[in-house]
């Protein structure tokens, strides 16, 4: 399992547009992909309902975990989306 902590720079947090991009990227993970706000409970990073319900705002730190082959590449992309201003 690969894990990364990312500060969310997206102005709207993980709302509609960034959330859609985030979930699309997470869906490429071969195994499970989760996202948590700080040290909170992780939710599926492949569910847009779960990601939008997490209420991640600009400046929040998220913890992203990805399992399976290519996990680092998926994490790179997720970090890029969350970290984009």
């Amino acid at each position: 399992m690969a894990e990364r902590r990312v500060k969310v720079e997206s102005e709207v947090g993980l709302h509609a547009r960034p959330a859609a991009l985030f979930v699309e990227a997470a869906a490429k993970a071969a195994g499970e992909a989760t996202v948590a706000k700080g040290d909170g409970a992780p939710v599926s990073a492949k569910s847009i309902l779960a990601v939008m319900g997490l209420d991640v705002r600009n400046g929040d730190e998220i913890v992203v975990r990805v399992e399976g082959d290519g996990a680092e590449e998926v994490l790179d992309r997720l970090a890029e989306i969350a970290g984009a201003g």
């Binding site: 102005e11 709302h15 547009r17 939008m52 319900g53 209420d55």
Partner: protein, 149 residues
């Protein structure tokens, strides 16, 4: 089958007409969109359920069996930081379909140079899960927009 209702009065256009590729290409999910009547109005809940998110410019209602519906009031309206929008409910509350959620005025949004288009999107759904999607013609607030299996 879940019936998803129009949150606003206007003309159905389908998602492809929404001037934002993330919605137009169905990346957020399948559904349709409404070109709203240009007058002050109250956007309502498209389904009965729990208010998962309530921003001034957008909200998500999840049904008890986990179907989430996103309503986005205008495009790039997050930039307005809530100005011109008044929320009428609280996140976490249980609401009936048709419950009033946000007061807004599409005419003002348009005057500010933004599209007032209202995408209504089924989250985590495939296009095949939707039926009888209304993508043209006039719709009243509370009129059926699509069924969700």
């Amino acid at each position: 089958m879940l019936s998803v209702l129009s949150p606003v009065p206007g003309t159905a256009t389908g998602l492809a007409q929404v001037p934002d590729p993330v919605f137009a290409q169905g990346m957020v999910g399948p559904g349709t969109a409404i070109d709203p009547v240009r007058e002050p109005q109250t956007a309502v809940a498209p389904v009965a359920g729990t208010i998962v998110k309530l921003h001034p410019h957008a909200y998500v209602i999840a049904t008890p069996d986990g179907k989430g519906v996103l309503v986005h009031l205008g495009i790039d309206t997050v930039d307005l930081k809530g100005e011109g929008f008044e929320t009428l409910a609280e996140e976490g509350a249980a609401v009936e379909a048709g419950a009033p959620l946000v007061r807004w005025n599409p005419a003002e949004v348009e005057k500010g140079g933004r599209s007032p288009a209202v995408p209504v999107v089924a989250l985590d759904a495939s296009a095949e899960a939707l039926a009888d999607v209304v993508s043209s013609g006039e719709v009243a607030s509370g009129a059926p927009l699509f069924g969700w299996r």
